[in-house]
Subunit: 333 residues, 2 copies
């Protein structure tokens, strides 16, 4: 049997039981943006890890070494944000093929270091080894979050308002431009390409949500809104409805998607690598939080609500309703 047959999540479901060995100290093991551990200190320890493979996750020609380094760390910072945490220390493993020059690696590290400084994260130990073929980057990142503030996926409640902290479609549209699947030149949509290559992790937004006491669940949008909202629904045992006319889209996305002859809604609902947060907010607190986010220079877009049941409904602007099937990214399918 091949991994294509069962997919990434099928594989995780298969091996997860083999790993649950010592329950003490584990608040949440597999199945959230981070693992959450209780080591007896004042805060919970968060841990996330991401593995990036050349030609699977990135191509050298897409960006400078600085950009590749910064993004590698940013996507881990986003996982910490999804749990409402503060990032602490990153551990970098690199498998480096012969053709990579030290000067490239210096610039890669400088890119990581710049974003690390912005978030007060150390780049500590790790492992460095040779590789026969491709460059591989694994980052393991710790974080901390006050015990009462940690945000999970499984704790949304019926009636909670679904919010986004940014524009999830831009990154996927930028990727389409980068991979040249359209005739559009790379410089036609700098903000979309930047959304893909230089995502800003929503750590600040995650802390605001966590501190507010109004957020019942959150996830960072890495696979796509439909797929990641599907995770929140399944884990929380709820259904959701999304309103088409409330989904946030940038002018650039709408313009470029039209030129690509792709519905911008497709990017917004299904585009991966968005690294904005998708969260559940107590309905009585939405107005407060919108004010707070605005004061702090952040965005908060209510886009729908959770309800009893299963599945995701999309309420179209024309008054019709359709079932939204998750169409997110699976590395093996």
């Amino acid at each position: 049997m091949n991994l294509r047959d069962i997919g990434e999540f099928g594989f995780i479901d298969r091996v997860a039981p083999l790993g649950a060995i010592r329950p003490e100290g584990v608040v949440k093991g597999i199945g959230d943006d981070c693992a959450v551990m209780d080591l007896g200190g004042p805060d919970y320890l968060l841990m996330t890890t991401d593995l990036l493979v050349e030609k699977v996750h990135f191509l050298f020609q897409w960006g400078s070494p600085e950009v590749i380094g910064a993004k590698a760390l940013a996507i881990n910072l986003s996982d910490i944000a999804g749990c409402g945490g503060k990032p602490l220390d990153a551990f970098i493993s690199l498998a480096i093929p012969d053709r990579i020059e030290v000067e490239w690696l210096d610039r890669f590290y400088r890119g990581m270091s710049d974003i690390a400084r912005e978030y007060s994260v150390n780049l500590l130990g790790g492992d460095t080894t040779g590789s026969k073929n491709d460059l591989l980057i694994n980052i393991a990142l710790t974080g901390s979050v006050p015990r009462e503030e940690v945000l999970f996926r499984h704790t949304a409640q019926a009636g909670d308002i679904i919010v986004l902290t940014g524009h999830p479609g831009d990154s996927a549209a930028g990727l389409e431009i980068l991979i040249g699947s359209t005739d559009l030149p790379v410089d036609c949509a700098p903000d979309l390409v930047r959304a893909h290559l230089e995502p800003r992790p929503h750590v600040k937004e995650g802390r605001l949500l966590a501190e507010s006491g109004a957020c019942t669940a959150a996830i960072d949008v890495s696979d796509g809104v439909s797929s990641d909202l599907g995770h929140l629904c399944r884990e929380s045992g709820l259904a959701a409805v999304l309103y088409e006319n409330k989904l946030p889209m940038t002018q650039e996305l709408m313009t470029i998607a039209t030129r690509m002859a792709i519905d911008p809604l497709d990017f917004t609902l299904h585009g991966g690598e968005a690294y904005v947060l998708l969260a559940a907010i107590r309905p009585s607190r939405v107005a407060d939080l919108e004010d707070l986010f605005e004061q702090r220079g952040c965005e908060l877009h209510p886009i729908g609500e959770f309800a009893p049941g299963t599945g995701i409904q999309l309420a179209r602007t024309d008054g019709s309703t359709e079932t939204l099937a998750p169409r997110g990214w699976d590395h093996f399918k």
Copy 2:
């Protein structure tokens, strides 16, 4: 400039300053078996990570999937042992090429799970992705150690006795047999091959050393005794002398090395992937600790001592003394 020109350690020295961003909470960053963090809890948090690349670190034909999985975790457990810690939670990242079957991965996880259970370690989140070519395995492992018990590399003192907790030459001799660099059949030396494929992490020995209050410094022997003792000497600002006639060698190593026409001392002094501990013990406590280790079914071999100065001297059995140059493994040289 290529990594071959500066080597793995030259590269680490080059990038380490870029990563030291937030000193608070970091007890030890780069340059020990583990990073050591103070999160305000009763114990320090330890963190280590190892990246294994197919054809660089292992070949499929060498062992069953279970053996490869168990070793991947064991070498991380050994790093926690080198700091005197107790392992806690492992995070597994895999880049999986198409040709690997789910059945192979099931068995790989089973091997990891078996050794994880032995050491009460959880296999938690991680990341699973595709790979264009080779299988890659990155494990990040946390551990904990009481604050006053943590073992570093930089704290050995002049006069301390150098000890080994096992036989460091066996693994490298087993590797020579596995790679077929001799005419000897693989089944000629099962204990040596097992030392290479199924190393037992010396977590128990590490805890005994840490709890004893008699151990001033330790390291796990992954690059070879000469190289890893070199780390202890440099970090502690000391010289060392080793006594040839005290270096522990198994009968099988001596027999097989002779058949290979290689001096068994070469394996013992320079062989990598030994995963025994090399430690510094206060001289007044050596006899106590030897008794304690024997009672607990462990080995402790005094092999030399630390002295003021620099460099490592080897006192030969014939009364002569020579300078020992580190000849350990560097992935890029």
